[in-house]
Structures are given as C-alpha cells and as structure tokens.
C-alpha cells in the first residue's frame, strides 16, 4: 500500500483531467440526449426517449448512416488493397524503397483541411487537374462534377481519404512483411514456388495479423471521418455526403438542437462499438507459425 501512495502523484494529474474533461462530458452527453436543450437557453425540458425515436425516424439521419457505410466500405477496400500491393513491392530495405515509402507518407502529415483544399481544386469541374487530364487524353466523356454530383460525391471524398492514409498503412504492411523470416521465402523459392504461390501459401498466412490491424484501423478511422467531409462539401450537395459526424455537428452548431445532436452521438457510439465488436469476432485470426 505504501508503494501505491508513492505512485499516487504520478496518477493524480492525468486521471483528474481525464475524468473532468473526458469521462464527465461523455456522461453528461447521455443526459443531454434525454432533454430538448438548444445549447443556449439556461433552461430545458426533460423529454425522456423522445429524441431517440425522433432521430431514428429522421430521414437525414438514416441517410447519414447509409453514407457512412458507403464511405467506410469504399475506403477500407481501396486503402487496404492498394497499400498491400504497394507494400509487397517495397518491403526490401533498399534506398529507393525507403524514399518511396517516405513520399507516399507525405499526405499523412498534412492537415485534413489542406488535403481537402488540394482535392477540391483537383476535382474542380472546369479548372481542376482531374477533368483536365481526362480531356487531355481524350476521355472527355469520363469527366464529372466530382463533388457536385450527388451520386459520386461521397466516393470522391472516400478516394481522398484513401489517398491521405495509404502511406501510413504501407508502413504497417511493410513491418508485417519484414517480420516474415527470409529463410521461409527462400526455401519456398528453392522448392519452385511461383510468385503467386509464394504469396498465397507462404506470405499471406503470416501477414494476416498485420492485415487485420490495417482493416480494423481503417474501418474505425473512416467511420469517424469528419474534417475532410466538413472541409470539402460540408455534407452537401443535398445531404449526399452527410455522414454521422457532420450530422451531429450540424444538428448542434447549425440548428442548435443539442438534445437531438447528443442523441445522434449516443447512436454513433453504439454503432462504432458494434462495428468494433463485429470486427473483433471476424478478424480474430489464429496466428500462423511454422
């Protein structure tokens, strides 16, 4: 016990701040979700679970969930597949590989606001690089209003999210690949394995834990994306890119319905916990060792 008394000073400042500015607000969030507070007036009514039924019926809320899922699925597929393919080329510790890994990592260190501006410009229908390039190579029919078309805007932003984070995922895959013993790869080659056999029979089973980390990190990261969507479209056009986090933000700070926004936050927390749980079940890989 004496030992813990001596350690107490190390715990107290951090735990106190964490309880006051993280745990306490999270709990009061649940409380607000049961009220009709507008965020400004000093008084509010306790409305029970009204917000929960109203938000669940709200068409825009439902649309945000669908958009969130679209965004998440698109980002997870693109980000995982592209970073894996690139990491496979970059796993050897050669100078050119190290340089390429650094180059691919650069977007990760830029702010989402900068990335959002960069790509709003690239996607600009008349002045942007993307349509300009398509026209230059004779694919004028492929040009789009990338952020203005309600059918594709959410996927245009998903592509940017992947662009910004592939470099980070490459680092994870490369670490996984470098942990694979060289002898295994060599002996499989001596046994005459083709490159594809080598990948599917030897490398992939050993890389599965790294892949599980990439997929689960990407899922959560893309599910809670906010800055990029907020910067590029703010949820528009016609709510086609509204996701849960912009829905919460807009309900609270544009429409001043704090109670409703808090309810959406609780739903958001439940959804993200559910996804984490599903993933935990699905990706619980038995580590392979030879």
């Amino acid at each position: 016990m004496k030992k813990y008394a001596k350690l107490l000073p190390f715990f107290v400042p951090g735990i106190a701040l964490y309880l006051a500015l993280f745990i306490y607000p999270t709990v009061t969030g649940f409380y607000y979700s049961l009220t009709d507070w507008d965020g400004l007036s000093p008084s509010y009514q306790f409305v029970g679970i009204d917000n929960y039924t109203n938000v669940a019926k709200d068409i825009i809320f439902r649309k945000s969930i669908v958009n969130n899922v679209k965004f998440m699925v698109a980002v997870v597929i693109v980000q995982t597949v592209v970073s894996l393919l690139l990491a496979l080329q970059l796993s050897k510790q050669k100078k050119v590989n190290v340089a390429l890994r650094s180059l691919y990592f650069v977007p990760t260190i830029l702010s989402s606001v900068s990335v959002g501006f960069i790509w709003t410009f690239v996607y600009d229908p008349s002045l942007g690089l993307l349509n300009g390039l398509l026209e230059a190579v004779g694919l004028s029919s492929w040009t789009q209003n990338w952020l203005g078309d309600t059918g594709i805007a959410i996927f245009s932003i998903a592509a940017v999210q992947a662009w910004a984070h592939i470099g980070q995922m490459i680092i994870l895959f490369v670490a996984g690949l470098q942990a694979i013993p060289e002898e295994l790869v060599e002996s499989a080659k001596l046994d005459g394995a083709t490159r594809l056999q080598l990948f599917f029979r030897v490398i992939w089973p050993l890389l599965a834990p790294a892949a599980a980390i990439v997929v689960s990190y990407t899922t959560i990261q893309s599910f809670k994306a906010f800055d990029l969507v907020f910067t590029m479209t703010g949820g528009g056009p016609a709510y086609s890119t509204e996701i849960l986090s912009t829905y919460i933000y807009n309900s609270a700070f544009m429409n001043y319905t704090f109670g409703k926004a808090s309810t959406a936050s609780v739903y958001f927390l439940l959804l993200i916990s559910f996804i984490t749980f599903l993933q935990f079940r699905a990706l619980r890989t038995d580590r392979v060792s030879y």
């Binding site: 350690l7 190390f10 500015l21 969030g29 691919y104 990760t108 606001v113 410009f121 690239v122 662009w163």
Partner: protein
C-alpha cells in the same frame, strides 16, 4: 518477370498520384490570377510570389503560426508529461492496479471525439475557458490521454525492470527513477509518440473550431477555413495558404522521419 514490371509500374503510377496534386498546388500558388485563368494546368511562366505577399498582407499569418506553434508545443509537452507519469505509474504498480488504470484509459479509446464534442463544448463554456489558447491546450491534452497512455505504456513495458530495481536498492526515490532512468531510457519512444501527437494537434480542426472564435486566436487549419470564405474565387491565394501551412510540417518530417514513421506504426496499433 511480368509481375516485376507490373510492380514497378504500380510504384511509379502511385508516386504520380501522390505528387501530381501536390505539384499542381505548388505551381498554382506561383501564378498570378490572370495567368491561372488563362492556363490553369500549365507550368507557371515566371515565378510570382505575389499570392504569398497578398496572403501575408491580408491576413495575420504570423499570428496564426504563433497560435499553432504555441498550442502544438504546449499540448504535446503537457501530454508527454501527463501520459509519461501515468505510464510510469502503470509500469511500477502491481498487476491489478496497473491493469485498472490502463483499463480506465482504454475505455476512452472507444469514444471518438464526435461523441463527446458537444458536452465538452458546453462544459468549457461553463468554465469560461472558451476562446482561450490555454483552454484549448488543456482540453486537447485531456482528450488525447487514452491514445498517449496506450502508446507510452506499451513502450515502457519493454524497459528492463532490473535497472529500475537496481536503482531502488541504491535508495533512489520514484521521481529520481523516473527522471534519471525511465524517461531517458524511453527517449526514442517519447520522441515517436511526440511526433505522432504533433501531427494530430497541429492539424486538428474540431477542437479549435469548437473552442476558439476570435480572429487573433485562430490556429492555421481554422484560419484556412476562414480564408476560403474570403478567397473563394481565388485559387492561387488559397493554395498559397496550403503551401505555407504545409511547409513547416514537411520540413520537420524530412529531418525527423524515423520518429514520424515509428510513431505512426505504434499509433495505428490501437485499432
């Protein structure tokens, strides 16, 4: 053989996908507005720093830089101290107490900022900390504790216990052990965590947007959102803003790559 060339083609194409948007932004920021509208995708005819000039003339850019630097350095410094203390405490506690403290913070890893941003906003306003850089620093440091405790205590677990025990036998108190042994031995880990946090805080939009509103208090990402309102039709100036705010980060990255990359590796494992 075919696969090998396909692989190289893939590497080159992706390098182009990364570089092209960055270069077009740089080029555009060096064009005058008429040049840009005449030829939006071409190379700049001559280097014009006019956009940078008008950005710094029209905006208190140095003030924004100062705010971002103050907030980032103070938040990351405070964070390393708080989370370093807790991780040290976890390492030195017995199994049960250590696991309980770790568990308390692990709960926070599950809660994204979007979930508690509203109550944090109202609480900070009640405390009278709104529009204060100090308030933002304390809030950001508290909100990042789950992540940093996770990263640092993961690192510290790998420190050799014998050295600390030897110090204890020699009569060193906990503070001496922390300052003379645990922190110095963790220096590379502290640096990796710092680099990871640095990127998060420097680039954060949500909390500055919730807590700051005075023009003299804005951080760079927030200021950029405001520029957009002012330069909506003026891509060259807007993109000069992107270049100016990205440069310090890119310079840091070039010099401290190792820490950025090991930090990103450790920080991504929390999923």
């Amino acid at each position: 053989m075919v696969l090998k060339w396909l692989g190289r083609l893939l590497l080159l194409s992706f390098a182009a996908v990364i570089l092209a948007p960055l270069l077009i932004v740089l080029f555009t920021s060096l064009k005058t507005t008429p040049q840009f509208y005449a030829n939006p995708l071409g190379l700049p005819e001559s280097l014009s720093f006019h956009n940078y000039q008008s950005l710094f003339d029209g905006q208190p850019m140095w003030g924004y830089f100062r705010n971002s630097i103050v907030v980032t350095l103070a938040t990351v410094g405070l964070e390393l101290l708080l989370a370093g203390f807790i991780s040290y405490g976890i390492m030195r506690s017995g199994k049960r107490v250590g696991a309980a403290v770790f568990g308390l913070f692990a709960v926070g890893l599950m809660v994204p900022s979007q979930v508690n941003m509203i109550p944090i906003y109202t609480f900070v306003h009640k405390l009278g900390w709104s529009n204060s850089l100090t308030g933002l620093i304390i809030v950001s440091a508290s909100v990042l504790l789950p992540l940093s405790v996770f990263m640092l205590s993961g690192f510290m677990k790998t420190l050799p216990k014998e050295i600390l025990e030897a110090g204890e036998i020699d009569g060193a108190g906990e503070w001496t052990l922390l300052a003379r042994i645990a922190f110095p031995l963790s220096a590379p880990y502290l640096a990796a965590t710092a680099a990871f946090l640095f990127v998060i805080v420097w680039n954060d939009l949500l909390f500055p947007m919730l807590l700051l509103n005075g023009k003299d208090k804005l951080t760079l990402p927030l200021a950029m959102l405001q520029f957009r309102g002012e330069y909506i039709t003026d891509y060259p100036v807007l993109l000069a803003g992107v270049v100016v705010t990205a440069l310090p980060m890119i310079a840091l990255f070039i010099f401290l790559q190792r820490y950025f990359i090991s930090g990103a590796l450790a920080g991504s494992l929390k999923g």
